[in-house]
Symmetry: C2
Subunit: 378 residues, 2 copies
């Protein structure tokens, strides 16, 4: 076999979806991209769960945007998750802004965008919506569900909600819940968005504006937490933003003075160009709310008792957003239940972002794991 064999789908689900909040979506659609080929027994499917701002476009080049998929270094022919052997499914989360039903979509009951009326969705709701996607493809059991960061939470939630439908959970740079500090960062980002006068309580579409100021600040805050302190020091240090020949003295102004400011402003602007503010609120709230131990008196081991999957848990030493000790909590809870778990703590300088980067040791472990799994495929 050769090539990615990319297929794109917009799949409409007309059975109502009962959400954890008590609200209900009468119908919804999911934007999907698949790579490789589903085998005859439908045992080689791998579901990719995305983090905050990613999408169903996981691998390969998008012919329209010209952009490469967000996990292209991991997924493709001959890559760690090898599409010559696995059928890989990328799906845009419900409530996101890349084609699946979300706040920007037209509410069929009102014929205007949902905006602030789009119901809050949770990680568990995503899993539920994705189970119907598995049904659509006739997949009884995923060979693996894999994700990094928020995507890792989804992989874990899959193992809890549908123990019999996941052979392996791959949980990367993730945590079983947000810490107070994590929630604090989310709250500040949301405050920046919601206090932007262009937010209009979430109904900015009708005003033909977007709360760009808030989105910019939200993204800048996020970015600090994605990079390690060392990585920022290495990348930017105290370098001044200068073009050739400019003096190396300070300019004594509030304009861009340091390289790191320039970088953050650029990231903020870029993000405000393409990301939907209501989606940002929704997804960060889903992160805040994820806490499988909550209904078990805070006992994560009890929460994971129901799982049947084998797990691979990976963390990165300089990740301070989801530090290795948060991954070790998951490993400990899995071991408390005598579940099969492999844990790797990768010594990498790039902070939380490391899960998206091409690191030899990291990719080597994922490659070996999928390669071993392959032998067990029926």
């Amino acid at each position: 076999m050769t090539g990615l064999n990319t297929q794109s789908y917009s799949i409409q689900f007309n059975e109502p979806l009962a959400l954890k909040s008590g609200a209900q979506l009468a119908s919804y659609s999911l934007e999907v991209q698949t790579y490789g080929q589903l085998n005859a027994n439908k045992t080689n499917a791998v579901l990719i769960c995305h983090a905050l701002n990613a999408s169903h476009h996981v691998a390969g080049l998008d012919p329209v945007s010209g952009k490469v998929g967000w996990w292209d270094n991991m997924i493709g022919p001959g890559k760690p998750l090898d599409t010559d052997h696995y059928f890989v499914i990328g799906v845009n989360n419900l409530g996101s802004c890349f084609g699946s039903t979300g706040p920007m979509s037209i509410n069929p009951e009102t014929n205007v965008p949902y905006g602030s009326t789009f119901p809050l969705v949770t990680v568990e709701d995503w899993v539920l919506s994705q189970a119907r996607l598995a049904d659509y493809f006739g997949i009884q059991k995923f060979a693996a569900v894999i994700g990094g960061s928020l995507g890792g939470m989804q992989a874990l939630a899959w193992g809890i909600q549908f123990p019999e439908r996941v052979e392996h959970c791959l949980i990367i740079a993730s945590a079983a819940s947000l810490s107070a500090q994590n929630i604090a960062f989310n709250e500040i980002a949301r405050s920046a968005i919601m206090s932007d006068p262009d937010f209009h309580e979430g109904n900015y579409y009708a005003h033909q504006v977007t709360p760009r100021r808030g989105l910019r600040v939200a993204r800048m805050i996020g970015h600090i937490t994605y990079l390690s302190n060392d990585d920022m020091a290495e990348k930017f240090g105290r370098d001044l933003k200068r073009i050739k020949g400019d003096p190396q003295d300070y300019r004594f102004s509030f304009d861009t003075e340091f390289e790191v400011e320039s970088y953050l402003r650029y990231q903020g602007e870029k993000f405000a160009d393409y990301f939907d503010a209501n989606t940002y609120l929704l997804i960060t709230r889903a992160l805040d709310y994820f806490d499988p131990a909550k209904n078990h008196g805070g006992n994560l081991s009890n929460a994971l008792a129901v799982m049947q999957s084998k797990s691979l848990v990976i963390s990165f030493t300089t990740d301070w957003r989801f530090a290795p000790d948060r991954s070790r909590e998951i490993v400990k809870a899995l071991l408390d239940n005598k579940h099969s778990v492999t844990y790797a703590e990768i010594d990498a300088p790039h902070g939380h972002d490391a899960f998206l980067l091409d690191d030899e040791r990291y990719h080597g472990i994922v490659r070996a794991y999928f390669s071993k799994m392959q032998k067990d495929l029926a």
Copy 2:
């Protein structure tokens, strides 16, 4: 002797002050509060340098506001810095918003507030303005200059700019320059303020508004960096904001859901009530710019060669804003020059904020240091 013997001053300086930026202030006033009594030889004076949002009101109860000075646990009769023996001077930094000349002050040349036309001031400019304050009191040499965080930078700058006028530099929870990550946090806070439509390019006084949204976000960002991750976990964890009898389920909204959100929002509101936005910009930029090694090819040891003072350097283990390794850089540079330096790394859970808190080991060291100094007072 008994009592604080608090004295308040507004001191006007009419000799022009040449600033590092090249700009000049024709005149300025400094708001000052003193405690204790200057001895006959004027050798027992200690200058207190404040951090971002503090003021000249360092110790004791303010009869008007009813507030206690920001370092009252450290300074007073019988306290680690004992006002029965030392003459302590608190001064509000130039450019701040608590009485000293700053953006809110009326520019005598235009008869309207300076606003955005107030020149950028640096740590070195503060030291220069404070040297005139020493002259005003007839103090040839301070027994000590002490400060935490940005105040510690000022203490260090004093030692560099006026080596013969400082006997001891006490540099607490500080650094010889900001890291890229530190600058990044400042930049986001400034972006939040400057993008607030009520900012009006710094001339919001004329519009009779304040950029509250921006100030709130700025303060919330700051607060995360003042507390340690562990401290936030201990203080708030994932506790929900509930009053007695409320259900423990999520509310599924973007309103205050977690205690940590409630705390941050409260801190943001409180800050927006009293702090001036232009001052926030100015002081964070002064922090960004401080870098005594810059004119020595990045070599801090060379930059500190000129110092004559003895130093006490203190850091706190969980401070991730100015982590202990930043203090160790200062210690190393002082030792490279064979300067006398004492270093203490305090095992404290409270992050950067620890320098303001009453910790037995921390206060014990400061007390012992001042007590030993006392014996050397002429």
